[in-house]
């Protein structure tokens, strides 16, 4: 019973990681860039959904609000991701690899602070003017409750299955199917594969590489935004720091699956989620349980990077450094 419950928990967590991990892997697959700020895109997605709700549906709880919230979340995340690529990363394509990494840290800090300060004060510097009545993001912000999803669960033979869990896992399934269709059936998707194989040749074949890179960022941002909504529904509150740890774990998942490999990211996410849930549930003694769960997650991160950097399904490029 305990095992089945942890299995459900693990799959939920894993779906979340998988959704974010795709963003790391798609971008890495094309330009060998670890977009360290991707966790913040996830955070922006959650806040985008919340803002949409506050602006248009404040107080509403019916389920038709949810799709609009998702659209709002995706719009915010995509906008930030595209700006990030255009302004910060693109000029650094040929720079030593240290440069984009430090840039990513800078973006990460900047976005967190932007949300922390800017959220309840959208005018930022000028005054305390706050026409939308946004709550302060310095603490945890409650995420809207949605009918039929929040606080409802099924009890399957003693195993509690939250409705939000179903949403998260369902989101992963739908996104994975969509991604599969996009990569293998559409022209842009095939162009993307071409660029990831050999950007220079792809360019010679008339593929607009810059555009494909933007597409990669957009895909990652879309999935991360959906993950942000799922996380909000799951945990019922969000905060400006939520992207850091989630991003790191999702990165672990991406490496675990084999960075650059989209299906690896999904597999890695699910694996990591399950391992983490099982560790919380079954590691005995004082070093078990949730106080140490992040330590175990980081330990897995280190072990994977050191001993299996090519991941479960094999990475496109191991580590060119």
């Amino acid at each position: 019973m305990e095992f089945a419950q942890q299995l459900v928990n693990g799959l939920t967590l894993g779906s979340l990681y998988a959704l974010i991990a795709v963003g790391y892997t798609v971008v890495y697959g094309i330009i060998q860039l670890i977009n360290f700020a991707h966790g913040e895109i996830f955070m922006i997605g959650a806040f985008g959904a919340l803002s949409t709700w506050l602006l248009f549906f404040d107080g509403q709880t019916s389920i038709w609000v949810l799709p609009v919230m998702i659209v709002g979340a995706v719009a915010c995340s995509v906008l930030v991701a595209v700006l990030m690529e255009r302004i910060a990363y693109r000029p650094l394509r040929k720079a030593p690899r240290l440069a984009p990494l430090i840039t990513a840290i800078g973006i990460s800090v900047f976005l967190q602070e932007l949300v922390r300060i800017g959220y309840n004060d959208p005018t930022l510097f000028l005054s305390d003017w706050n026409p939308f009545g946004f709550p302060s993001a310095a603490q945890k912000v409650p995420f809207p409750q949605i009918d039929h999803i929040s606080n409802e669960f099924w009890n399957v033979g003693g195993v509690i299955i939250q409705r939000s869990t179903v949403f998260t896992i369902g989101a992963l399934l739908i996104c994975a199917a969509g991604l599969f269709y996009f990569v293998s059936r559409t022209k842009t998707g095939r162009a993307m594969q071409a660029v990831s194989q050999d950007p220079d040749t792809a360019r010679l074949m008339g593929i607009n590489v810059d555009r494909i890179i933007v597409v990669a960022f957009v895909i990652g941002a879309t999935l991360a935004a959906i993950a942000g909504v799922a996380q909000g529904l799951q945990v019922t509150n969000i905060n400006f720091k939520m992207g850091f740890l989630a991003g790191l774990k999702a990165f672990t998942a991406a490496v675990l699956g084999g960075i650059g490999n989209v299906w690896g990211a999904v597999l890695g996410g699910l694996t990591l989620g399950l391992v983490e849930a099982m560790a919380v549930g079954f590691i005995p003694g004082t070093f078990g349980g949730s106080p140490w769960k992040d330590v175990w997650a980081f330990a897995i991160l280190i072990i994977v990077l050191v001993f299996r950097p090519q991941g479960l399904l094999g990475a496109k490029v191991v580590d060119r450094a």
Partner: protein
């Protein structure tokens, strides 16, 4: 696509303007400079409480003086432009001066507007200054860029060079004391803007490289004079502890950042969990201290504690460095980040409930007593040469000693067989290995040495802070350390000192914008990587690595090598 044609078109226009009005540039610069100087003599606001008192004519104060300084710089550059010195490019300097002056005047007007009821309260001075600033910018852009000829540097007698160094450092001491004395946030901000403007102007005009060259020729006097200046600093504070406490923070931060610079700047390995080593030292210092909350019964003398801090930290350094055998680049950075987080979480959890009791968990170890060396109590005020030197001054002197040791280690390792090995690894790891360089050993060594220096600093920090808690050692602190290295310049001592000072001093002084401190920090990292990835005071070699194609740089580095060899 459209941006490139746009910039091309801009270049064409600029080129045409230069053809036509280029000869006017020096006169424009001189006129602009003169206008700026005159503006300092005018009134900037009729309210006398704004930005100190800037309402009186012919009695310049505060920002009026800064405007005059910018004006003088523009005047000098304008005159140099007339004289056509081959090793200087006054045009670029004028561009920087002018831009700084425009921003400066705009900010000053903004300050007047914000702190009073609006720009109605601004007097003629600011507007006149704006005209002067625009003239200087115009002069800058009308001057075509020059290829600097570094072979034309004037050779001075070594006594004269040393005199220049001493005067420059004395000016630095005076300026530091003056800057720190500033309690008005806006004026402070404008002062910093002025200093930055002047420094950037001199650097871009080509003075920076020449000064660096002089410094290179007189390393020993330079270092001695710098230490003397640093030693004299507490005596300028007249017993006040406000600035000394900031200075102590800066020194601890700088010592740690220098340790990190061994790992990042010399060995070329990115460590995102470096704060853990400072934390290790601090926790060792706290646990072995006389604090009532110390969890270890053993109370050795502080020298032993320092040694313990170093040893434990360097063991952690070896552990964290061991993955370098298999991973490098981005992956290594993330591995170190993981270790850093594990350290913080472990310190948080080892409170007796979840794990053995070592650290008191989130509460940390408070009540750490002040250091006491042979009866010299660091907590008490001592008077030297009539100046009372308080608790912070005591720690300041100790930390100065520490920085000295760290710099010595840094510089001597850099200039040795080991330093050469590190450069070789940075340049081409596989070739280095094929030439018999012990790549893994040297990487581990960098981690161990860097970690032990941070551990050493940590033991002192524990006593200075009087308490140690896990939340002092979060990822953001590691990012700050890295930023100090990156901002200042990878692989140089001076760079890291500059970087550490900027990063610690600005937030302390700009209390009103403290809320936006981190946001500005994030932006700063992005901008640095975009426009000057090698930092403010880079090592020539590092600069070359970031700009493989820059012929001027190559030439410059070559000249310096030849000079050094002589």
């Amino acid at each position: 696509m459209s941006t490139s044609t746009l910039s091309e078109r801009r270049d064409d226009v600029l080129h045409a303007l230069r053809e036509k009005y280029g000869p006017l540039a020096p006169f424009l610069a001189i006129a602009g400079g003169a206008v700026l100087v005159v503006s300092g003599l005018l009134s900037w606001s009729h309210i006398d409480r704004v930005l100190q008192n800037i309402s009186v004519r012919f009695w310049p104060a505060g920002i009026q003086i800064y405007a005059m300084v910018l004006g003088v710089v523009a005047l000098v550059l304008g005159v140099l432009l007339l004289r056509k010195t081959p090793w200087l490019d006054p045009g670029r300097g004028l561009r920087a001066t002018g831009t700084a002056a425009v921003v400066f005047v705009a900010m000053a007007l903004l300050a007047i507007g914000v702190t009073t009821d609006g720009l109605i309260n601004a007097n003629e001075g600011g507007w006149v200054a704006l005209v002067g600033a625009v003239l200087v910018v115009a002069a800058g852009y009308l001057t075509a860029p020059v290829d600097l000829d570094v072979h034309a540097w004037p050779r001075l007698s070594s006594t004269l060079e040393i005199v220049i160094i001493v005067v420059a450092l004395a000016a630095l001491l005076f300026l530091t004391a003056y800057t720190l004395d500033m309690d008005d946030s806006w004026t402070f901000f404008l002062l910093i803007l002025t200093i930055l403007g002047v420094v950037v102007a001199l650097l871009t005009a080509g003075f920076g490289e020449y000064i660096g060259f002089i410094g290179q020729n007189n390393r020993r006097p330079l270092v001695l004079a710098a230490f003397l200046v640093a030693f004299l600093f507490p005596f300028t504070q007249g017993g006040s502890s406000a600035n000394m406490s900031i200075a102590v923070q800066i020194l601890i931060f700088a010592a740690t950042a220098l340790g990190l610079n061994i790992v990042v700047g010399l060995a070329g390995l990115l460590d995102l969990g470096y704060i853990a080593f400072l934390g290790t030292g601090a926790y060792v210092g706290a646990m072995l201290s006389n604090s009532a909350f110390a969890t270890v019964g053993w109370k050795p003398p502080f020298f032993v504690v320092m040694l313990c801090g170093m040893v434990v930290a360097s063991i952690f350094g070896l552990v964290i460095g061991s993955p370098t055998l298999r991973v490098s680049g981005d992956y290594l950075a993330i591995v170190t980040l993981g270790f850093g987080e594990i350290f913080r979480l472990a310190m948080f959890n080892l409170d007796g409930n979840t794990g053995p009791d070592l650290t008191n968990g989130p509460n940390g170890i408070p009540g750490i007593p002040d250091l006491n060396f042979f009866g010299f109590d660091f907590g008490e005020t001592h008077t030297l040469a009539g100046v009372p030197l308080g608790r912070f001054s005591n720690y300041y002197f100790l930390l100065l000693l520490l920085i000295g040791v760290v710099i010595l280690v840094f510089a001597r390792l850099n200039d040795s067989r080991i330093g050469r090995g590190w450069v070789a690894i940075r340049e081409d790891e596989r070739a280095a290995e094929a030439m018999g360089v012990n790549v893994f050993g040297l990487k581990l060594l960098a981690f161990a040495v860097g970690a032990s220096l941070a551990g050493l600093a940590g033991t002192i920090k524990a006593h200075q802070d009087t308490s140690v808690t896990p939340d002092q050692y979060i990822f953001l602190e590691s990012a700050f350390l890295l930023a100090a290295v990156v901002l200042g310049g990878m692989g140089t001592v001076a760079g890291v000192l500059v970087g550490a000072t900027i990063l610690k001093l600005l937030p302390e002084k700009l209390r009103e914008v403290n809320e936006y401190r981190l946001m500005a920090f994030g932006l700063l990292l992005v901008l640095m990587m975009r426009f000057r990835p090698e930092g403010l005071v880079p090592s020539k070699r590092r600069q070359l690595e970031f700009h493989e194609e820059d012929e001027h740089l190559v030439d410059l580095a070559q000249t310096e090598h030849l000079e050094e060899a002589k």
